[in-house]
Each structure stands twice: as structure tokens, then as C-alpha cells.
């Protein structure tokens, strides 16, 4: 892998502009936001779209001579900060600013009536800046800074409607789990600096082969703990479904397309380190496969449309992690690329539905929306076809690439798990489609008949809305429409042996793919078989005319009869509650009930008491009697004489 190239003057300023424009936007919106009202949305979108344009213009510069490198600050030798745009960071930058820009435009419409719209766009711009810091840094510390800022932006945005206690709790949960991962990545960064004496990627990768295997594994382990927390891998995944408390554009941008893929970026970027430690690679791949399967299984049991998509995100990121874990970096990154498009589209489409139904998110209360919301129907359908890997759609190419990669790098079991997951994905995604868009509309059926829990409408916790008209439809539909194109077509970039995709990356990830022991069409057809199976099962349960006619009863039965293990999310939340939350709460209780009043306050009280007692004693000495004072003097003199009698200099 080539090192970081020399400074390219022509591309330095544009790269800085790409990085800093969202920051300028964020600061401006924070400062001036309340005065701008709805134009804040336009301003926020303009900064990000401008960044996208500039990044696209840097495409040629980024793919030649190892990319564009802009050194920024050299603090002390070995501590050089700078920006680096190579093919890997270029892909991420284009997705962040491109998909991010489209979501900004969408948000103008979605948050049309929200009183805090300026704050929303400020946070969104801040997020884009943080993510760009993460992917554009040429050193581990800059990456870590971006890592932390991204977590912060996520906290801001999940808890955007902070009047809701559930949103605040979800934001806190996400942040705490991310901090837990931050510990891992921090120690990895410390170890990297200690082992290599430098923080720049070029130096680290140059020294990678000469490090001891145990050290490399430890570093990779630390990095992966961080990646697992950020990318919601098992067992640090519990924050992602709860993060759906944030507005839907947030879910689309952060928790589908970009932030949760930071872990994938991390593994791909540190490819030389991972290539040097096969055991770390196996760990990553196994966790990725487990996450993919778990996410899919849990997606079967969800009734909230956003939670279905959240678990599907978790599952798909498992695919990406599996891909980069086995060493098939191009496959993993390709899946990130396609997933960004179709997942954003799915979320934005879900947002259209939620918006149209006035914040109804439960699938059981939907139905027949294909006639009422045709645009949303087509958007969701295309996205679903992509995610399940319908031949020709983008997801088909990337999923196959991941499964192929697993096989080629010697992990047949994991490949089988991934294939099985593909089938389950098809099942639950089409379950969602059938329940949402087909059959009669169930919006006016009472919750009890549908088997739903009783709802409490707490008006005080609803987001702060104004009531001033409605956003024009085209604002929200335009980004979705634009996204339809890459959702369908993006996969074709990797078609063929000398595809544009593989040429784009060149030798970035090390040696090429090993040769296939058997022709590709065998694996492809196997996967397609499972996918078709999943589709058929979904149709029989939810899509067939008979199923639709008996929808209400079937839904009630399914709601009541859902296996508890799935409803409780394989008890991960309970496990974390038991292992971490309860001990922490117990510790806090002990401190507040005993340590604080008795030990800490007690120490202060004791000092006061001591001062008083000493004063009481001293007061007895100050009785004004000459004889008492004389006695004191004599006693002191006796001590003095004792010193000279026994110890003092006599000679």
C-alpha cells in the first residue's frame, strides 16, 4: 500500500473547504439559527451539498498518486495532523456529503413545523463535520477526535426532542455504550503510538509488519471494541434500536448510512494491521456474522417500522464487518456503498409514511398504503428489493461479494450464516412491505383487536411543534427520488472482473482476491434460493389474499404469540442491565446513602469537631493564672534539659 503522498498544492484548499464548510455551517446556525427560522434548513443543506460538489471535483486528484494529502499542524515530531483523501476516504466523503446533503434537503420538509429547526440543522452540519474529521484524518489521533465528536453529535441528535424522556434515555444509552467502545479504541491508539512512535497512518502501516503478533492482536482488539460499539455489533448493539427515538432523517443519516459504518471504515483503513493478525480477523468476521444473523432474527419480531429498519441496519452492518473481517475489503466497502443508498431510501420513505399518517409508526395500524401513498410505496419497494438482493439491484452485487469473499478467504461456515441471513432478510423486509402497503387500511381499528398494548398519549411529551401550514410535498420526495437511481444501479459498478470498483481501489488493501475454487454461479444461486424461500414464506403469511383478509386476527395472534426471546431481544438488554447498570446503580446508592453523608461529610464534620475540641483544650491553658503559665514554662524547661541530658551536644 502506498504511503501518504506529498503535498499537492492545487487540491489542498478544496479539501480544506470540504472539511470546514459543514463546521462553518454548524457554527453559523448555532449562532444565528433562531433568527433564520426555515432558511436555516437551506443554509445547512447548501454547505453540505457544496462540500459534496467539491469532493466530487477532487475525484481525479484522489485516485492518482495515492491521493491528496494536506498537512495541517505538526505539534511535535511524531504528532503531525493533516487531511488525506485517498480512494477509501473519498468513498466515505462522497457518501457522507452526498447522501447527507439529500437528507438535509429532506429534513427541510420533515422538520417544517418544528420550533427548533435551526438547532436541528446545526447539529446535522456538526455531525457531517465530525464524520469528515474521522474519515479525512491522516493520523490515528485525528480519527479518534472525529470518533468522539461523532458520538457527541449522535447524542445531540437522538435526544433532539429532549422533552421526551424516552429520547433522553435513548441518547444517554447510545452515548454510554459508545464511550465504552471509546475506551477500547483509545487504548489501541495509545499502544499504536507507543509501538511506532508516530501517529500518522503512513508511519504506522510501515511499521506494522515488524510488530510482535501479540501486540498487533491487542491493538486490533482495542480497535474492534470501539468499532463494535459504534457499529452496533453484538453485544454492544442495544443502543441502535432505541436510537430510533430521534427524528427519521437522523435515523437515515447517522444510524443507517454513515455513523454506524465508522467501524467498517476503521477496519478497512487499518487493513495492514488486520492483515498482520489472522486471529483478530477471525474475531471480527465471527462477530460480524453473528450480528448479521441476530439482527435478522430480531427484525422478524418488530412492529415499529423504524425498529424493523434499525435491526436490518444492524444486520447489514454485520455483513460489512464480515466482509472486511475476512479480508474481502472491497466487498465490505461495496456493501457499505450500496447500503448507504438503499437504507437511506428506506428510512426516508418510512419518514414519508410516518409524516403522512401523523406520527403513526406501528405497522399493525397501517395497511393498503400503496393506494394512498404511491410514491412512498415505490420508494420502499425498490429499497426492499435492493436490501434483499434481488438480482440486478445494488444489494444483490454487494451481498454476493461479501458471501463470495467469505468463502474465498476460507470461512465457509460464516458464508453459510450470511446466506441464511439473506433469506431471513427477505422474509422480514417483505413482511414489512405486505403489512404496510397491502390489504385494507387498519388505522381506525382499535389497538386491542390488533393485539397492541394500550397506548398513553402524553401530549406534554410530544415534540415542540408550531402549526403553520404544511411543507410542499416535493421537498421530501425529491431526495428520495434521486436516491432511487443509485439504489437500483450502484451495484453495476462492480460487475465483471475488471470492474470500475476494483480498479478504483487498486492495490489499496494489499494482495488481490484469491482465485475461486468453484464458479461463482453456484453460490449466487444458493443465495437466491434462500431469498426466494424467504419471500415465499412472507407472502404466504402476510401477502396472500387469504392472509390479507384475515389480517386483523392474524396480527392479534402473532402479537400475542410472539416468542418472548425475540421480544426481549435475546435478553441482551437484560444482560447489560444486570451486569452493568445494576452494579453501577448499587454503587451509586451506597455512595449516596453511606459514603457521602458518613465518610465524606463525616470527615468534614470531624475536622470541625477536631478544631472545636482542640480549642476547648487550648482554652483550658489560657486561664490567666500566672502560676499555671509558670508551670508550663517549667515543664518545657524540663523537657529541654532532658534533651541535653540524653541527646544534646555535650563535648
Amino acid at each position: 500500500m502506498s504511503g501518504v503522498p506529498a503535498f499537492a498544492a492545487a487540491a489542498a484548499a478544496p479539501l480544506l473547504a470540504v472539511w470546514l464548510l459543514p463546521l462553518i455551517g454548524a457554527v453559523a446556525l448555532w449562532a444565528l439559527g433562531p433568527a433564520l427560522k426555515r432558511t436555516a434548513g437551506v443554509l445547512g443543506s447548501l454547505t453540505v451539498l457544496a462540500a459534496f460538489g467539491i469532493a466530487a471535483a477532487l475525484f481525479p486528484a484522489a485516485t492518482q498518486n495515492g491521493g491528496v494529502h494536506v498537512p495541517l499542524v505538526t505539534w511535535i515530531p511524531g504528532y503531525a495532523f493533516g487531511l488525506w483523501l485517498d480512494p477509501l476516504s473519498l468513498i466515505w466523503t462522497l457518501i457522507i456529503t452526498g447522501v447527507g446533503g439529500l437528507i438535509h434537503v429532506y429534513s427541510i420538509g420533515y422538520m417544517w413545523n418544528d420550533r427548533a429547526i435551526a438547532r436541528f440543522f446545526a447539529y446535522l452540519n456538526f455531525f457531517v463535520f465530525s464524520m469528515l474529521t474521522l474519515v479525512l484524518s491522516d493520523n490515528v489521533v485525528g480519527l479518534l477526535v472525529g470518533w468522539g465528536l461523532v458520538g457527541l453529535a449522535s447524542y445531540f441528535l437522538i435526544g433532539f426532542w429532549f422533552q421526551r424522556p424516552s429520547a433522553v434515555a435513548a441518547a444517554r444509552k447510545a452515548f454510554v455504550i459508545n464511550v465504552f467502545g471509546d475506551i477500547g479504541i483509545m487504548f489501541a491508539v495509545f499502544a499504536i503510538y507507543q509501538q511506532t512512535g508516530s501517529i500518522a497512518f503512513a508511519d504506522v502501516f510501515a511499521k506494522a509488519p515488524s510488530l510482535a503478533p501479540g501486540i498487533v492482536f491487542a491493538i486490533c482488539l482495542g480497535l474492534f471494541i470501539g468499532a463494535a460499539a459504534k457499529s452496533a455489533q453484538v453485544p454492544l448493539h442495544t443502543w441502535l434500536p432505541d436510537a430510533m427515538e430521534g427524528p427519521t432523517p437522523v435515523s437515515a443519516l447517522i444510524h443507517a448510512a454513515t455513523m454506524v459504518t465508522a467501524g467498517v471504515y476503521l477496519v478497512a483503513r487499518f487493513a495492514p494491521l488486520w492483515n498482520a493478525s489472522p486471529s483478530a480477523q477471525t474475531l471480527v468476521a465471527v462477530v460480524g456474522a453473528i450480528t448479521a444473523l441476530t439482527g435478522a432474527l430480531l427484525g422478524i419480531a418488530q412492529w415499529d417500522i423504524k425498529r424493523i429498519l434499525a435491526y436490518s441496519t444492524m444486520s447489514q452492518i454485520g455483513y460489512m464487518i464480515l466482509g472486511v473481517g475476512v479480508g474481502a475489503y472491497q466487498a465490505g466497502v461495496l456493501h457499505f456503498f450500496t447500503h448507504a443508498f438503499f437504507k437511506a431510501q428506506l428510512f426516508l420513505g418510512a419518514g414519508l409514511i410516518i409524516h403522512a399518517l401523523h406520527d403513526e409508526q406501528d405497522v399493525r395500524k397501517m395497511g393498503g398504503l400503496s393506494r394512498r401513498l404511491p410514491f412512498a410505496f415505490w420508494a420502499m419497494l425498490l429499497g426492499t428489493l435492493a436490501i434483499m438482493g434481488f438480482p440486478g439491484f445494488s444489494g444483490y452485487f454487494s451481498k454476493d461479494a461479501v458471501i463470495e469473499g467469505a468463502l474465498l478467504h476460507g470461512h465457509p461456515v460464516l458464508a453459510a450464516v450470511a446466506a441464511l441471513t439473506a433469506g431471513i432478510t427477505a422474509y422480514y423486509m417483505f413482511r414489512m412491505i405486505f403489512l404496510t402497503f397491502f390489504g385494507p387500511y387498519r388505522g381506525d381499528v382499535d389497538e386491542f383487536s390488533l393485539g397492541m398494548p394500550l397506548r398513553v398519549h402524553a401530549a406534554a411529551h410530544e415534540p415542540d411543534q408550531e402549526h403553520g401550514g404544511h411543507a410542499p410535498d416535493w421537498i421530501m420526495q425529491l431526495p428520495v427520488a434521486i436516491l432511487m437511481v443509485p439504489t437500483v444501479l450502484a451495484g453495476w459498478l462492480s460487475f465483471g472482473t475488471e470492474s470500475p470498483w476494483s480498479r478504483f481501489f487498486g492495490g489499496l488493501f494489499g494482495a488481490g482476491e484469491p482465485a475461486a475454487p468453484f464458479p461463482e454461479w453456484i453460490t449466487t444461486s444458493g443465495v437466491l434460493l434462500l431469498v426466494a424461500l424467504g419471500l415465499v414464506v412472507a407472502y404466504l403469511r402476510y401477502g396472500s389474499p387469504g392472509a390479507q383478509a384475515a389480517a386483523i386476527d392474524r396480527l392479534r395472534a402473532e402479537s400475542r404469540g410472539m416468542p418472548q426471546i425475540l421480544v426481549r431481544g435475546f435478553y441482551f438488554d437484560d444482560l447489560i442491565e444486570f451486569a452493568a447498570v445494576k452494579p453501577a446503580a448499587w454503587l451509586g446508592e451506597i455512595f449516596s446513602r453511606y459514603v457521602d453523608p458518613h465518610v465524606i461529610d463525616g470527615a468534614v464534620r470531624d475536622v470541625v469537631w477536631l478544631a472545636g475540641a482542640l480549642g476547648y483544650v487550648m482554652r483550658a491553658l489560657q486561664n490567666g493564672l500566672v502560676r499555671a503559665y509558670a508551670l508550663t514554662i517549667v515543664v518545657g524547661t524540663a523537657c529541654f534539659l532532658a534533651y541535653f541530658a540524653f541527646i544534646g551536644a555535650v563535648k
Binding site: 486561664n623 493564672l625 499555671a628 517549667v634 541530658a645 540524653f646 544534646g648 555535650v650
Partner: protein, 198 residues
Amino acid sequence: MTLFWILAVILIASAVFTVTQRSPVYSVVGLLTNFLALAALYLTLNAEFLAIIQVVVYSGAILMLFVFVIALLSSGVGPFREGPDRLPRVLLPALAASLAGLGFLVYAVARVPLGPLPAHRPTSTLGQAGAADVFGSVSDFGVALFTTHLLPFEITALVLMVAVVGVILIAGDAAPLPTRGRHRKAAREREPIVKAGR
């Protein structure tokens, strides 16, 4: 040798007598005996001039001062009245501290071997009395006082003058009252401090 022990016994006995007597006049007499014994001891140590000074200044002046003050304080009053004992149970600690200090001091002294006594200049005999090279003689003392130690001598004079002024200020008569004006009224209000009473 025996002289020393006789004088030592007189010294200690008179000291104890001084400290323990009820009446201050008896204590003065005991102190006088103590000073005379002390002068004799000085003589055994060849410090003739100091022996005379001890008798003349201490017994002759200071003790007389004590006698006069006793007389002043007891005129027309009878035996001295003492208030309640505000520090009871002080006997034991006082004795303990004193004895401890004494013990340590004696031990410290005993630890130091002083070596053989050096040869001294011949003591004065009748024919050589007053010679300047005789240790402890008046001439010897005078020469040292007015040449080597002139400064302390002069400062001593200063100390004595300060003492005289201090005595006059502390024990002298009160300042006369102003005869007219507001100062007179204020001075009258301050009077009770001068007059007796509590």
C-alpha cells in the same frame, strides 16, 4: 572541704525556709542567710570582689527594698489576705516538674568529666592583696570591667535608669487632675481606677 558542706547545708536550708514561710518577713530573713552563705561560697572560689558585692548590693540594697515594700503593704491592714486558691492540686505536678528538671540537669552535669582543675594564679595573701594578676581580686575585676567589657557596663547603667523611670511610673502617685474644663470632668470619671475598690 567540710567548709563547703557546711555552707551547702546552710544554703539549702535557708532556701527552703525562704520558700515555705507564711510571713514575708521571715522569708526575708531566710533570704538574707542564703545570701551570706552564698558570699562565703564565693570566697571559697576565690571570687573575693563578688563576695563583697553580693553582701553589699544584694543583702544590703535589694533585701532592704523588699523590707520597705512589706512595710508599705502591711501598714494598717494586718496580715496579708489572700483570695481563694484558683489552682488547687498544683503541688504534685509542680514538684514533679521541678524534680524532673533537677534530675535531668544533674545527670547532664554528671555526664561531663571536667578534667583536672588547672593551676591558678596564686591566691592573694596579705602581702599581694589587690594585685592585678591575682584571679578574683578587685584590680583584676576592675581592669576587665572597664576595658574588655566596657559596653555591657554602660548598657547596665542604661538598664538601671530604665528601671528607675519604670518604678516611678508604675508605683508613683497618680498624675494631678486638670483643674478646669472638659478634661477635668473626664478625668474625674476616670478616677475610680486610681482609687481603691473592686
